[in-house]
Amino acid sequence: MTRYLSIRLLLTLITFWVIVTAVFFLLRLAPGGPFDGERRLPPEVEQNLRAAYNLDQPLPRQYLNYLLMLGHGDLGPSFKQKDFSVAELVISGLPVSLTVGVMALVMALTGGIVLGTWAGLNTGTKTDLLIMGTANIGLAVPAIVVAPLLALIFAVWLGWLPAGGTGGPLHFLLPATALSLPFIAAIARLTRGSVAETLQEPHITTAMSKGLPRQRIIRRHVLPIALLPVLSYTGPAAAALLTGSVVVEQIFELPGIGRYFVQAALNRDYTLVMGVVIVYAAFILLFNLLVDVCYARLDPRIRLRS
């Protein structure tokens, strides 16, 4: 298992480096730079600005500088938001984005697993049809549809929940719900299939014929196996939910880092874009590593090797 995990860790680091490198060069390939704003700057001023941010140096040099800076845990200054470092901006927005993302992930997992298991244990019944029918609809309505509708119903018409901004956990409820609905549906479908399949396994038949209580069979024998595919899906799901917050932050006017990202990409604020991508990538990769560790512990084929 150590070998398995060290390979995974190495791959994670390589992936991280590839992301940083790809985004760095992609940004520099883009036409335009951070300083061609509304007003044309005099050439001398622009020259000085570029020199101050080391943008006058050859590209490989800039790349090395950036990696060195990153190695010291520094994300650099923002090119556009004067007086702010990228780290300060990221730290101010990260709690919002993470809260929305994590809330959505928890809702997606609990909702999806509960509904999926329920349907999987009752395949072919009306309950199953109802849950799966709803799930199929859930898959087809993305956050950009659900979010405005939820805001319209619960904030504007009913006035139960705030429509935007921050100020308490309630403010995150609508964004997280909007974000998680398609994932509740996807996880429910996955769980249902997996539970139904596991029920057909010989060892479940054995447990049944031994007369073990049904609850116990489900908890001890069905779910640990049936949830393995769900576990491996949480990696991509977490990535999608975290980055999906870019969209709901826009709709609910939440001051998270997703909003910086779109703005910064349009402004060619190189360091801020890099900073946001690095933070997202770090969280996603870390989460995936965590999922791999859990998987390795749960799957005896990996746990017992070497």
Binding site: L11, L26, N136, A140, I144, L152, A240, V246, I284
Partner: protein, 279 residues
């Protein structure tokens, strides 16, 4: 493979017939709709701002008086063509990658699939946004960028299929006759994984439609006066308190299309599994 299973998947139940009909309608609307409509999708009409659905504007009008039905049909044109082209790109990347990994096997296969696994973990929406921002808002690029994101699923499926048929007698026979790896890949493996790959690609189409709508919603994709369902939903969301129809109808068109595609994709896949089980 005969076409009976295809007919069964597309028209085998009333639900399937509803989905097929809806999709056919959408394709027709995308192709011919804007030309058939009496309204110009771009013409601003100051006498009909934010009109609710009526006999002249069946689905109402938008903030600047353009006929919503006509614009939804125009949006279908872009949303559907983005989806088709991006899916084609993903198939073109995914099939060779998957067959090669499956055919080579061993270390090379493991390495290639690990790469796919790591790519799954990338913050993809961010990367697509970057690509779109960096290379300008050309629609062609949007197609390519989305296709480049969605090939992973296809590659996985195709690899699995390849592993299965690699051991078939006809592959062994081809090898004994002296066919080289390139010939086996191109003449024997790829044609045989094409069917399953295309079936799974039908499940990619709705994903691309959703991704495009996200990007357009953020104002990074399709630009005015062109439109897509994502743009229409974004416009509708801005003004939903006074004109909810401008949000509801494009959202319905998007949701119904994605739902139909998911349904038919599932049916196609199930039929394919039945076929595979029979062989």
């Amino acid at each position: 493979m005969n076409s009976r299973w295809l007919r069964e998947a597309l028209f085998g139940s009333s639900l399937a017939r509803v989905c097929s009909t809806w999709l056919a309608l959408m394709v027709l609307a995308a192709l011919a709709g804007p030309a058939l409509s009496p309204w110009d999708p771009q013409a601003i009409n100051w006498d009909a701002l934010d009109n609710p659905p009526s006999s002249s504007h069946w689905l109402g009008t938008d903030m600047i008086g353009r006929d919503l039905l006509t614009r939804i049909m125009l949006g279908a044109r872009i949303s559907l063509s983005v989806a088709l082209i991006a899916t084609a790109v993903s198939v073109v990347i995914g099939i060779p990658y998957g067959t090669l990994a499956g055919y080579l096997g061993g270390r090379a296969d493991q390495l290639m699939m690990r790469i796919v696994d790591s790519l799954y973990a990338l913050p993809f929406i961010l990367i697509v946004i970057l690509l779109v921002v960096v290379f300008g808002r050309s629609q062609l690029l949007l197609f390519a960028a989305l296709g480049a994101v969605f090939w992973l699923d296809i590659a996985r499926i195709v690899r699995g299929q390849t592993l299965r048929i690699r051991e078939s007698d006809y592959i062994a026979a081809a090898r004994i006759q002296g066919a080289g790896p390139t010939r086996i890949l191109i003449r024997h493996l790829i044609p045989n994984v094409l069917g399953p790959a295309v079936v799974y690609a039908t499940l990619t189409v709705p994903g691309v439609i959703l991704a495009e709508s996200f990007i357009s919603f953020l104002g990074l994709g399709v630009q005015e006066p062109d439109t897509s369902w994502g743009v229409l939903i974004a416009d509708g969301a801005q003004n939903m308190e006074s004109a909810p129809w401008a949000l509801v109808f494009p959202a319905l068109a998007l949701a119904a299309t994605v739902w139909s595609l998911n349904m038919l994709g599932d049916r196609l896949r199930d039929q394919l599994d039945v076929q595979a089980a029979r062989v």
